[in-house]
Symmetry: D2
Subunit: 356 residues, 4 copies
C-alpha cells in the first residue's frame, strides 16, 4: 500500500508470528458474501466460521464453502477462541455491541461502514481497541480504489496546487433502508474519500435534507446536501440522493494548477486531470481586475483496476499480521461518524453550521 | 406561445395600431450583438439605433447593419422620440437608471437578466412600468427554450405526479466578472427556470459560497450552493460554479410518477423522462416499511430547437404590439432579484435560512 | 422463452421423464467457469463432472464445488454413462471430435460458439444429432440478451417498417488468439444476432481483412470488414477489430418507420428507438425528387437485464427435458459457420462476393 | 500554417504586389453564405460581387452586405476584370465549366469540394491552372481543423509508430441530394482527411453501396462502405451513411505505439490519444505466439478551435498574395475525385477492387 496516505502510524502491538489468520464473519446479507468471496481468495487467512440470525442467508455460503462453519448466533462465533479476527457486516445498530464483545474477547475487528451509530459508541470502540492493542478497521471501500489512491498521489506531489473546492455527487434510485437515511447510507463513502484526500481538518458542517417519500410515521431523508467548511476557506459539498433516475458518482476537485473529475462510473476514464485554471491579476490603477484562463490538455492516467474490496481484505489481514495501523483505522471511522452525526444535527436545525 | 405558462395576465394597455415596432438597443458588448442579430431578422420591428460608450464595439454593427444609427451615448438614444421600445444589454449596475429613463420617456423595455441590482430598484421599475402602461420584460432566455417549455407542459398534464425535489447544476470555467459573482451571473438562469416550472411560492432560501480566487481586496464568490425551501416540503437546490473544468448544465426533477433529466448540453436528447419511482408501504405489523421500485422505459420527447433568443425577441415585439403581458414580465424579474438578494444575504450569514 | 423467435420447431424426440438433468462440462479455461457458475445455480440440473487437460484449471473448480468430479481427460467424462448432456467449452479445433463422440455416446450437446471449425464438420454434427434424436445447441449468447430479444419483438410487430440496412461494430483491444482471427472470434456474435433478427436468407457475402500485427510466420486478421447481401437489396455490414483503443459494441438498424441503436455497453439505455425517417416523393414534373425528414421522439424501452448466459443454460436444460428444439439449434450454428467460412474465402479473394 | 503538412511546393508564380485581394463568389445556397461571412471578416480581401441564378438567395446577402454587388449570372461576375479570384460554391455538375472560364479569364479559383464531377474534368482544371500560373484550391474544410492538423503533427513526430489501420465513420440523417449520393457528398471529407494524414499512396479501392430509399426511377446510394488498400498492407475503411438516426463522426487510427480516436462531435475532447498497444512475440519452441497488451494513460491534447473555414479563406487569400501552393491544391482535389470515381466504379462491379 505504498501509494496510500503517508504518515502511517507506528505498529499498535507486537506482530503475529506465523500461519494464516483465522477469521470469522458476522452477517451474511447483501454485502457479507462479497467480503467472504474476497477473504476466501487470500492464502494469508482462513475463514473458520460465518454467523447470521437468518438461516436462509447461510445456505448459499454453506453450499459454496463447505469447509466454513455456519452458525446461527454471533455469540457462538465470538466465543470461539481460535478465531483471531472478526469481520462485522451487520446493520449499523448492532455494530457497537458486536465489536465491543469482539474486542473484549481479544479479537481484531473489521467493520462495515459506518463504524458505529453514534460518536459515543465510536469513541468507546476506538478506546477499547487501543486498550487491548487490537486492530480496529472500517471498510471505507472507496479509499482503496485505484482512482482515489491515484488522486491522493497527485495531491501529494503538489500537481493540483491549492485546492479551491471539492464537490461530490452520489445519486441513484434506492436502495431505501428502513432504519437509515441517505446521509448515513451514502455519506460514509464520500466523507471517507474526502477525509483521505484532504489533509486539513474541517471546522464546521451544515446540511439540508428532504423527506419526500413517506408513509404513516415513516419518513427518512432521501435527498441530502452537506457542506463541510475548512479554516482555509476550502468548501466541500456533497449531494446524496436515493431518488435520482440516473446514477451519478462524480467528484470535482478544483485546484489552482489542475482540476480533476473523478467519475466512478466511467469505465475507461475514471480520472480526468485537466490543465485548466484561472488567474486573477490587478490592473495598474488597482480598480481593474484582470482574469486569465488557462485551458490546456486533458490527461486520463491509468488507474489500478484491482477490486477495492480485495485490497481492503488483504490490508486488514496484513495489519493483523504485522501490527501496522490500517489506513482506515478506528480514528478515521470515528471522524466519519462525527461528520454524520453533526450533519444530522444540522438538518434538524435547518442547516445551521455545526462546529466540529 | 400557447405552450407557455397558463394564466397570462390581461393586456396592460391598448394595443398598438400598425407598422413595425421601432426599437433601440443599449449596449453592444458580449450579448448585445446576439439580440441585434435576432431583432434584425424580424419583419415586425426595425432597429433604429444602437448605443454604446465604447466606439470600438459599435464598429462591427455599423459595418454589418449600415442602416442602424450608431450612437455613443445612451441618452441620445433614449431621447429619440421615434423609438418606441428599448432593449437594455448593459452591466446590471446600469439597468435601473437606463430602464427608469426609458420608461419615463414612455418606451417599452426589454432588459437583460437580472432585472436590476437590488429588490428596491426592481420594485421601482415594476411600479413605473405599470404606472406608464408600458411593457417591462426580462430576457430570462432559458424560459423560452423548447426543453423548458416541454417540461412545463409535462408538469401541467400531471405526468410527473407530486414533485419530490428539484436539483440544478450549472458549472463551467469562467467567465469571471469583475463586478459580479457566480450567484448573480448564473443564478438568474436557474432561478427563472424553476420559477417558471414550479407553481408553488418559495418560503425560504439559504446559500453557501466560496471565494477561492482572490487578489488583493478583490474576492467574489465563484462557487455557490443555494437551497430554496417550499411550504410543501419541496426542496430545490442549485450548484453554480465558475471553476469547473467541465461544463455541466443539468437539472433533475424527481416526481412521484416520473422523473426527468434536462441536460442542456446533450444535443440529441435534451430531455429524458424516466418511468421510474419508489413506492413505500407499511407492513402488517406496522413496524415494517416496504419499498418497491418501478423502473420502466425512458422517453426522450422531441424538443423544439428554435433558438430561444429568437423567441424572446419575437415575444417582446408581439407584446408591444398587442399589449399582452410577457411571460417573463417585470414581476417575474423582481421575484428573481428577490431570490438573488436573499441568497446573497444568506451567504453573508453562513447559510442561515432567509424567509421570503 | 415466449419472447423468442416464433416458429419453434417440433420436439426432436420424446421428452425426459424426471429428475435433474445430469451434465458434464468439457473445458475449464476462460469461459468454462461462467457456464459452470450458471449451471450450478439451476435446480433442474446437476453437474456431475468437469474435465480439462490442464490440472491447474481444475483447482479452483474443485475448491469451489467439491461435489463435482474433476477429470483430467475428456474421454473419461464422455464415457460416463450417467451423464446425459455435455457442455463443450474448448478451443474450436476440438469441437468436432468432442461433440461427435458425445452424440455417438447418446449425450445432448451444448457447444461454445462457433459450432465447428468448418461447414463440413458442422453439417456432420447436425446430421448426427438428428439421427440420434439428441439436442444440439450452440451458445450464441447474445441472442439470449434482453436487448436482442426486444429488438426481435419490435421487428415482428412491424414497428420498424422495411429494414433499410444493418450495421454492426464490435471493436476493442484484444484478446488475440493464437489459432484464430478476429473474424472467427467476434464474427459468431454478430452473425448470430443478425441471423436471429433478420428473417431473410442472405445470398452473398464479401469480406476484407488486415493483418497488421505479425511476427515471423504468424499473422492472423485482426481487423475485418464483412458485408452480407440479401436478395431484397438489404445490406448488412460488420466491423470486427481486435486493435481498437476503445470498446464499441453498437448495432444500427435503419428501418423505413423507425431506427434503432443497440449499444451493448450503455448500461442505462441499451436500446434506443428513434422515430426518425426519410420520405422521398417525386415532384409534379417528375424531374424533381423531394425528400422529407421525420425526426420525432426517442424511446428507450426497458430491457430484461437477466444475465444472458443464465438464460442459455436454463434453455438448454429445458430443451433436454422437454425435447423442444433450442432457439440456437444445430442448423443455426451451421449457418453461422457457413457465413464464417465464406467470409474467410472472400478475404482470400480480395473481397470477391461469395454466393451462399 | 506552419502546423500543416510539410513539403509545401514552391510558389506557382510571382507574388502579388499590394492591396486587398478582390474576389467574387459564385453560388449563394447552403454553404455560400458561410464562405461570404468568413471572407467578409478578412482585411486582406474584399468581396466585390456575388452571383446566383436564384434572386431570392441573393436577398439576404444584399441586405447584410450592401457594398457587395449582387449579380444574377455567373458570367457577369466572371467577366469582371477587377475580380482577381473567384470562389465557386455551386453544384458539382457546374464546377468544371465555371472554374474553366475563371481560369481562362486569369482568375485564381477556390472550389467547394469535390473539385469536379469526373477525373477528366479535374485533370483539365489542374492542367489549366498550371498553364495559367493561377492558384487552384479545393475547400477540403476538415483538413484545416485543429484536430486534423494536430493528428498530422503527431504522425510526423512518429508518436504513433507504424500505422496499423484507419477507420472512419461519418453517418447522420440526411441531407439527401437529388443529383448526388452519399459517396460524393460525404466521401470527399474523409478521403481528404486520410489523404492529408497518410503519406503512402493507395493502390486499390473497393466499395459497396445500398439504395434502400427509392422512388420511381430515382435511387442513389445512401449507405456506402469503402475500403482503400495500400501497398504496405495498411487498410483504410470508410462508412458513409445518410440514414443513421444518430450522428457519428469518428475516426480511429491504430498505430503500433499509440492509438487515436478523433471524434469531431465531442466538444471537450475531439482527440484522444491512447497509450495502448499489442506486442506479439514468438515462444522458444516457435510454435507458440505470445501476445502482450499495453494499456497506459490517455491524453487529450488541446486542439485549436478556430473555425476551419476561417483558416481556409485566409489560406486561399494568403496563397493568392504570396503565390504559395495551397495545402489542398488542385492535385489534391484531383486525387480525391480519383478515389470517388474509382469507388463508384467498384460499387457498380459489386465491390471489385479497382486499381489506382
Amino acid at each position: 500500500m505504498e501509494q496510500m496516505k503517508s504518515g502511517i502510524s507506528p505498529a499498535v502491538r507486537e506482530p503475529r508470528t506465523s500461519g494464516p489468520v483465522r477469521i470469522g464473519v458476522l452477517g451474511c446479507g447483501y454485502w457479507g458474501p462479497n467480503l467472504i468471496r474476497n477473504f476466501a481468495k487470500l492464502r494469508s487467512c482462513e475463514i473458520l466460521a460465518v454467523a447470521d440470525l437468518d438461516p436462509k442467508r447461510l445456505e448459499p455460503v454453506a453450499w459454496a464453502y463447505p469447509k466454513i462453519k455456519a452458525l446461527n448466533s454471533p455469540e457462538a462465533l465470538l466465543d470461539q477462541d481460535d478465531i483471531e479476527a472478526v469481520v462485522i457486516v451487520t446493520p449499523v445498530s448492532t455494530h457497537y455491541e458486536l465489536a465491543k464483545t469482539a474486542l473484549e474477547n481479544d479479537k481484531h475487528v473489521l467493520l462495515e461502514k459506518p463504524l458505529a451509530a453514534s460518536v459515543k459508541q465510536a469513541e468507546e470502540l476506538v478506546r477499547l481497541a487501543e486498550e487491548r492493542g487490537k486492530i480496529l478497521m472500517v471498510d471505507h471501500t472507496f479509499v482503496y480504489t485505484g482512482a482515489v489512491r491515484k488522486i491522493r498521489q497527485l495531491i501529494e506531489t503538489g500537481e493540483f496546487g491549492e485546492i479551491y473546492y471539492y464537490d461530490s455527487v452520489r445519486v441513484n434510485l434506492g436502495l431505501f433502508q428502513r432504519e437509515s437515511n441517505v446521509l448515513w447510507d451514502l455519506g460514509p463513502h464520500d466523507f471517507s474519500i474526502m477525509d483521505y484526500l484532504i489533509d486539513e481538518q474541517p471546522i464546521g458542517i451544515s446540511a439540508i435534507g428532504a423527506k419526500p417519500v413517506r408513509r404513516g410515521d415513516w419518513a427518512h431523508e432521501s435527498v441530502v446536501y452537506v457542506a463541510i467548511h475548512f479554516r482555509s476557506g476550502l468548501l466541500a459539498h456533497f449531494h446524496l440522493n436515493w431518488l435520482s433516475p440516473v446514477k451519478v458518482r462524480r467528484t470535482l476537485i478544483g485546484g489552482s494548477k489542475k482540476m480533476v473529475v473523478y467519475d466512478h462510473l466511467d469505465p475507461d476514464n475514471q480520472l480526468k486531470v485537466f490543465d485548466k485554471g484561472v488567474e486573477v491579476s490587478l490592473g495598474e490603477d488597482l480598480s481593474k481586475v484582470l482574469v486569465q484562463y488557462r485551458t490546456g490538455d486533458m490527461w486520463a492516467p491509468k488507474v489500478d483496476q484491482t477490486e477495492a474490496l480485495e485490497i481492503v481484505c488483504k490490508h486488514f489481514i496484513d495489519c493483523v499480521q504485522t501490527g501496522e495501523k490500517p489506513i482506515t483505522h478506528g480514528q478515521v471511522g470515528l471522524q466519519i461518524v462525527r461528520l454524520l452525526e453533526a450533519a444530522q444535527e444540522s438538518m434538524a436545525r435547518h442547516g445551521e453550521v455545526i462546529e466540529l
